[in-house]
C-alpha cells in the first residue's frame, strides 16, 4: 500500500486496538450496540475464518454456531464500534482462510489448539 495512504490512515484512525491473531483462533469480540440513546456492549464469540485487507480497511470474519445456524460477522479492524477483542485460544490450522470450516459440523468442526513450547519448559 502507498506510504502516504498509510500515513493518512494512522493519522485519522490511529493504530487498531485489535490484537494479533490468525485464522483458526477463537476470539470474543466486545462490540458496542446502540439502542435509541443507550449504548451497551454485546459479545460475539467464535472462530476467526479469515483476515483480509490491510491498514484501516482490514477486516476479519468470525463464525459461530447459534443453535443450528451458522452466523458470520465481518468486523473491520478499525471499527469504532469495537470495544475490545479477546483472543481465547489460537488454532492450529494450515490455511490463512479456513473456508472449509463452514462445511464441518459436529466432531469434525473442531480446531486443535496451537501450543507454544519454550525451550526451557
Amino acid at each position: 500500500m502507498n506510504n502516504i495512504v498509510k500515513e493518512v490512515q494512522t493519522e485519522l484512525l490511529g493504530t487498531s486496538k485489535v490484537p494479533a491473531f490468525k485464522a483458526g483462533a477463537t476470539v470474543t469480540v466486545h462490540y458496542k450496540i446502540k439502542e435509541g440513546n443507550k449504548e451497551r456492549i454485546q459479545q460475539f464469540q467464535g472462530v476467526v475464518i479469515q483476515r483480509r485487507g490491510s491498514g484501516s480497511t482490514e477486516t476479519f470474519t468470525v463464525r459461530k454456531m447459534s443453535g443450528n445456524v451458522g452466523v458470520e460477522r465481518i468486523i473491520p479492524v478499525c471499527s469504532p464500534f469495537i470495544d475490545k477483542v479477546e483472543v481465547n485460544k489460537e488454532g492450529d490450522v494450515r490455511r490463512a482462510r479456513i473456508f472449509y470450516f463452514r462445511e464441518r459440523t459436529g466432531k469434525s468442526a473442531r480446531i486443535r489448539e496451537k501450543r507454544h513450547f519454550s525451550k526451557e519448559g
Binding site: M1, N2, I4, V5, E7, V8, Q9, E11, L12, L13, G55, S56, T57, P76, C78, S79, P80, F81
Partner: protein, 204 residues
C-alpha cells in the same frame, strides 16, 4: 468557483461520527503556483493559470522556462486554467485551503486506458447468452447492426467495439470528506477517474 490541480494517491476508507465507513480517494492537492493571470483586456476573458508538480529544468522546453521565470518559480509539470479566483497575482501559491469539508466538487481526470474492447465490455451488451444451440464463436458478438436494402447503410453512432478508456472524464458532485492542510491532502468520497499518480483537476 475556484479549483486546484491534484494528484491521485489511492483509496482508503474512514469512519464518520456515527461510525459509518466511507470509501474515500486521497488526492494530493497543491500547492499550486499562479503562473499566469489572464485578463479581460489582454486575453478576452478572466482566468488564472496554475502550475503543479516539479519538473526537471533539463526536460523543460526553453519557451516554458521563460514562462516559469516570469512567475519566479521552478518549472512545473502540469498547467491548467481556472476561473473564479479573485485577487491573485503572478507567483502566488494556492493550497488545499480553497476547499472546506462538506463542499461538493467536480473532479476531472483521464480514465484508465482499456485498449480496444468489444461491445460487451464497452457498451454493456448482453452478448448472445448461450454457448449451446449452434453457437461456436459468437458469444460476445453485437448481433444485428441494422436492416437490409432500406436504409442500405449502418446508422451513424451505432455502438460497436473500439477504444475504451483513456478519455477525459468529469466526475461530478463528489463530497469532500476531509482536508488535511499541513499535508496538502484532501479526501473525496467515492472514486475518481484515472490511475494512482495521475493528475486531476478539482473544481467546484
Amino acid at each position: 468557483m475556484p479549483g486546484i490541480i491534484g494528484k491521485k494517491i489511492g483509496m482508503t476508507s474512514v469512519y464518520s461520527a456515527e461510525g459509518k465507513a466511507t470509501p474515500c480517494t486521497l488526492i494530493e492537492a497543491g500547492p499550486c503556483v499562479v503562473t499566469q493571470v489572464k485578463t479581460l483586456e489582454k486575453d478576452g476573458y478572466e482566468a488564472i493559470q496554475l502550475g503543479f508538480g516539479e519538473r526537471r529544468a533539463k526536460n523543460t522546453p526553453g519557451a516554458l522556462k521563460g514562462h516559469f521565470e516570469k512567475a519566479k518559480t521552478t518549472p512545473k509539470e502540469k498547467l491548467a486554467e481556472f476561473k473564479g479566483f479573485k485577487d491573485l497575482n503572478l507567483g502566488d501559491v494556492v493550497t488545499s485551503t480553497v476547499f472546506t469539508e462538506g463542499d461538493f466538487v467536480d473532479v476531472v481526470g483521464t480514465t484508465k486506458g482499456k485498449g480496444f474492447q468489444g461491445v460487451v465490455k464497452r457498451h454493456g451488451f448482453a452478448g448472445v447468452g448461450e454457448a449451446t444451440h449452434g453457437q461456436h464463436n459468437r458469444l460476445r458478438a453485437p448481433g444485428s447492426i441494422g436492416a437490409c436494402s432500406f436504409p442500405g447503410r449502418v446508422f451513424k453512432g451505432m455502438r460497436m467495439g473500439g477504444q475504451l478508456g483513456n478519455t477525459r472524464v468529469k466526475a461530478q458532485n463528489l463530497q469532500i470528506v476531509k482536508v488535511l492542510t499541513e499535508k496538502n491532502i484532501i479526501l473525496i468520497k467515492g472514486s475518481i477517474p484515472g490511475h494512482n499518480g495521475a493528475f486531476v483537476l478539482i473544481q467546484n
